[in-house]
């Protein structure tokens, strides 16, 4: 991170790393109440949440969803435990495997690595919101046709990540696919099918048979 980047990031939140450390220690002493504690940092008011529950409102698949959540709750756990949107899976729980991939304002993100409170004000799309009703999307259909799934636990994450990837790379080469989707992992070994599914979804020829 360059110095300029750091400054602009600090500017965005108004809190420097040093101040944040101070705030963290303050926050621990804060009584468990709903709603933020407002602290003054470098002359600016900063809201500090937690550790108790607070009202959180998310926009998921076009619907407003609200719950009382501890601020440490990840977007993934909020989706799964509070709203029963269990398509996104918790596997590594630290941004390595991509099984929890959702779209935030149409950008693919790891829902395990974003706090629910930080997802407020954004448009969240989960696997459940990709298709409209029973009709599968072209990507979903291609995953089915090319058997790009076995146990299926990584599949929702892969489908969401692929959907987002193809919006930016409508005609990817196999090398593009290897790099662009390297943030998702599968244990059963369905990658061969995934390569073919992407070829089908983008109207490209498959190099090796298996569909």
């Amino acid at each position: 991170m360059s110095e300029d980047d750091r400054k602009s990031q600090e500017g965005a939140s108004g809190v420097s790393r040093r101040d944040f450390m101070k705030l963290s220690s303050l926050a621990i002493a804060t009584p468990m109440v709903v709603g933020p504690t407002v602290l003054e940092v470098e002359g600016q008011e900063v809201a500090v949440y937690g550790p108790g529950k607070m009202p959180v409102s998310l926009t998921v698949n076009g619907k407003k969803l609200s719950a009382e959540l501890e601020p440490r709750t990840t977007l993934l756990d909020a989706l799964r435990d509070q709203f029963n949107l269990t398509g996104a899976k918790r596997v590594c729980d630290r941004g390595t495997c991509g099984a929890c991939t959702v779209l935030m304002d149409s950008k693919a993100v790891y829902a395990c690595s974003i706090l629910a409170i930080d997802a407020q004000g954004h448009q969240i799309t989960t696997i459940e919101g990709l298709d409209k009703g029973e009709q599968l999307t072209a990507v979903q259909q291609a995953f089915v046709d090319n058997d790009a799934q076995q146990c299926g636990f990584c599949t929702p994450g892969f489908v969401v990540a692929t959907t987002s990837f193809l919006e930016k790379h409508p005609k990817p080469t196999p090398e593009d696919v290897r790099n662009g989707l390297s943030g998702n992992l599968c244990r059963c070994g369905t990658y061969h099918g995934i390569h073919h599914a992407i070829a089908q979804a983008t109207g490209q020829k498959r190099s090796v048979k298996n569909g």
Partner: protein
């Protein structure tokens, strides 16, 4: 008698074709529900406090603070004071709380004191030469360990009878042993073996078996003109790393009955395993599972955490309690494949006939040490001398891992044979071909598969003598290997119902691991009943359906396809009985094709399926199919497959990075049900094989005794970037059709370790002794004598 036999190529329309998996749509839509997704109202979350030491004794457990903590609903001490703990991460206390966060917070309040004991977590160091053979009596823990390590039955009997036992099991225990899968011969040995006192003092981690010999190894190695090749080979402990971690959710539906959601490969087998620890009848335990996120051999039992969910639920007034392991727990305690290492000497004649084998092998299968892999693998070399040393470690308990013991045996055999071929300056395909006569009944099959694989792969054009002489830092090489597996269908029962409105449903207590089991069951029924497979409703994954075996050993497809076939034939023939009078024919003269019941010789006398079923009457028609079933021949399943694989790699000799450029797999499996999902199984096995050949290793810290990489950044799986050209050839012939259905989940995962290691040796001119073939290992081998 009804004809249950599989229809041959001319008499089938669906079987053997490529059908997309029926659960594909719900999986791509995120609608498929896994145990991890079970989220009923009022769900309590369980967490486990685990021992941080690899070897310790629990001194005290104080849960007073946690019992008072906010949101906590139940606390259960699992291993109290005095218990000896054998691996880091073993379970000490279980907690259920209103949220996962509350349970995690509460776990921090448990106070446990340990007496820390010395540990052993390094297994790849060669054991000292001068250890006496293990003659100490066999303990209950040893038996459990042997079972976990799939030690062959005869070897277990030999150990029990020869060394004696530390104590005779109680009559109560004898009754339970068969439920734990202990073979009858072993139970008999446990009744007959002498009881001996266990030796006092600190136990050695090494348990050395007696030397086993066959033929005259001394003569074989000493003969004139004999070529001897010698080397060191090994494959480390790896983990299963199921993406859906292990876990369960239990709830008491009333004071007597328990409902369990469990991520398991063994739905029908779980109640019997929970009954004893919960001291309740198995018939009051219902186990359900819709989808499972991977098992690979590690999910056959309820595990302590599964039992714990029921215990915590009871303490919390019956509310549902769910425990799904966190990723670090999953990798530390929920699955470890035994390691295997060996110094191997091979003797061959100058024209390439295998003469002799000598091996001194070792490895760990966990705290008990484990058993020896079946070496030499596939090739029954006439003269052998071998000895195995089990290393008891605190790495964690072993579990069956896809094709237990075979990938290890394959590396320890096919790599030494490849080195011998190199020493003889022979093409290894030619060398293997030359020795197929000692592979047993599948010699001709291997020859054919080697030929097919060579053609697809372009072996003759690609093979060169050891050490790629090309300019530059990228060296290419090729390798070959072969393997075997059993795969006979397990016990299975299937209930099929045809309703008077034409609806058909199937109930079977099996499970679909993502192997395509659902799709295959429906294909068998649809082919037999002559209706589309999407017109049949399938119920599985519930103990209220008829028993079907656990999905291990590649036994599922043979089991469920056979039971479904018999149920479908019987139901169809019953339908023919009901319909025949209306068509003025005998039942035996009827057939059902494309949804029409008709007279074989006069297609004008016909009734569409729905109208035909209206003849059933008011009550549905039902049938039960079983496997095995000697009263309804023929045997529809079989055992024993071969399989040949080839790989091409590129190795950067400056960085040590290995890339698998191409793999070819030729795999037989008897009668093929669904070519598409079969191919996916093989492709998946190749990819999993690339992972364990290049990356996977449970890395242990000798100082703390803990796993260093219990996460997915440093326990690396193969990714999209590792998958280049993979070609699968399903070996399907009329002769294979006649054999019946044989499982294939396991065989194709056996060879990748050997085939990739052999290709790397061919590329760089030197053997990298141990998997995974990481850059540091490759560079170290190159320093010691690469020729590339």
């Amino acid at each position: 008698m009804a004809d249950y036999s599989w229809p041959d190529a001319e008499h089938r329309t669906l079987l053997g074709t490529r059908v997309s998996r029926v659960d594909g749509p719900v999986k791509v839509q995120g609608k498929a529900k896994y145990t991890f997704d079970y989220n009923p109202a009022g769900l309590l979350h369980g967490k486990i406090v685990r021992c941080p030491y690899a070897h310790a004794r629990v001194k005290s457990v104080d849960t007073s603070a946690v019992e008072k903590a906010a949101g906590v609903r139940a606390v259960k001490v699992l291993q109290g004071p005095g218990t000896e703990i054998h691996w880091a991460g073993d379970e000490i206390v279980g907690i259920a709380a209103v949220s996962e966060q509350a349970a995690r917070d509460a776990a921090k309040l448990v106070k446990i004191e340990y007496e820390v004991l010395p540990h052993v977590v390094i297994d790849e160091t060669e054991p000292p030469k001068n250890i006496a053979n293990d003659t100490s009596p066999v303990s209950g823990d040893d038996i459990e360990d042997m079972m976990n390590n799939q030690v062959p039955e005869d070897e277990m009997v030999k150990a029990i009878m020869g060394r004696g036992i530390t104590e005779r099991p109680s009559e109560e225990m004898f009754k339970q042993l068969p439920e734990y899968g202990v073979p009858a011969s072993v139970i008999k040995a446990l009744r007959e073996a002498p009881v001996k006192e266990a030796p006092k003092g600190p136990k050695s981690p090494y348990k050395r078996t007696a030397v086993q010999t066959q033929g005259d190894p001394q003569k074989a190695f000493g003969g004139a003109g004999v070529v001897v090749s010698e080397g060191l080979y090994g494959i480390p402990v790896i983990t299963h790393c199921c993406l859906e971690s292990h876990g369960a959710a239990s709830e008491w539906t009333d004071d007597k009955n328990l409902l369990v959601h469990m991520s398991t490969q063994n739905v029908s087998g779980i109640p019997a395993q929970m009954a004893e620890p919960l001291q309740m009848p198995a018939s009051n335990i219902r186990v359900v599972q819709d989808h499972i996120g991977g098992g690979f051999g590690s999910k056959f039992g309820p595990d302590r955490w599964g039992i714990l969910t029921a215990q915590l639920s009871k303490l919390a007034g019956g509310k549902p309690v769910k425990i799904m392991l966190e990723r670090d727990e999953e990798l530390e305690v929920a699955g470890a494949r035994p390691s295997a290492f060996a110094r191997v000497k091979v003797a061959a004649s100058q024209d390439g006939k295998l003469l002799g084998w000598e091996s001194s092998s070792w490895g760990t299968g966990g705290p008990g040490g484990g058993g020896s892999p079946p070496i030499p693998y596939v090739f029954n070399i006439p003269n052998q001398r071998k000895q195995h040393t089990a290393v008891a470690t605190n790495i964690g308990p072993a579990r069956a891992w896809r094709a237990p013991n075979h990938p290890q045996a394959c590396v320890l055999t096919l790599c030494p044979l490849d080195d011998m071929a190199a020493k003889l300056n022979m093409d290894p395909v030619e060398f293997l071909n030359k020795n197929l006569d000692i592979t047993g009944p599948r010699a001709a099959l291997y020859a054919d598969e080697l030929k097919i694989a060579s053609e697809i792969f372009g072996w003759k054009q690609k093979w060169h003598a050891r050490g790629d002489k090309a300019q530059g830092s990228i060296k290419r090489g090729v390798g070959v290997s072969l393997h075997t597996w059993g795969g006979r269908g397990h016990e299975s029962r299937c209930d099929l119902t045809i309703h008077p409105d034409g609806a058909v449903d199937i109930k079977i207590g099996s499970q679909d691991l993502g192997t395509g089991t659902r799709t295959c069951i429906l294909m068998v029924a649809a082919e037999t009943l002559g209706i589309p497979h999407d017109q049949i409703k399938l119920y599985l994954g519930d103990t209220k359906y008829p028993m079907s075996g656990g999905s291990g050993g590649s036994t599922t497809i043979g089991g469920v396809s056979s039971s479904t076939r018999r149920a479908s034939v019987d139901a169809r023939d019953q339908l023919f009985e009901k319909v025949a009078p209306s068509l003025k024919a005998q039942p035996a003269e009827l057939e059902v094709v494309k949804g029409v019941v008709r007279v074989k010789t006069d297609h004008s006398r016909a009734l569409p399926w729905k109208q035909a079923c209206a003849k059933i009457g008011a009550m549905p028609l039902t049938s039960r199919g079983s496997n095995p079933d000697k009263t309804k021949p023929p045997d529809l399943t079989n055992s024993g497959v071969g399989g040949v694989q080839m790989a091409e790699v590129s190795v950067d000799v400056e960085t040590g990075i290995v890339k698998v450029e191409k793999m070819v797999a030729v795999q037989d499996m008897g009668y093929v049900i669904n070519e598409k999902t079969a191919e996916s199984q093989i492709l998946g096995a190749l990819i999993m094989g690339i992972g364990y050949s290049l990356y996977e290793e449970k890395v242990m810290d000798p100082t703390t005794g803990r796993m260093l990489n219990p996460n997915m950044e440093f326990y690396r799986l193969a990714g999209l970037n590792d998958v280049r050209d993979l070609v699968v050839k399903v070996y399907s012939t009329a002769e294979q059709d006649k054999r019946g259905v044989i499982g294939l989940g396991e065989p194709p995962v056996v060879s990748p370790g050997a085939v990739i290691s052999n290709a790397v040796a061919n590329a760089i001119g030197v053997r990298v002794p141990f998997l995974p073939l990481t850059p540091d290992r490759v560079l170290e081998a190159l320093e010691k004598g690469g020729t590339a």
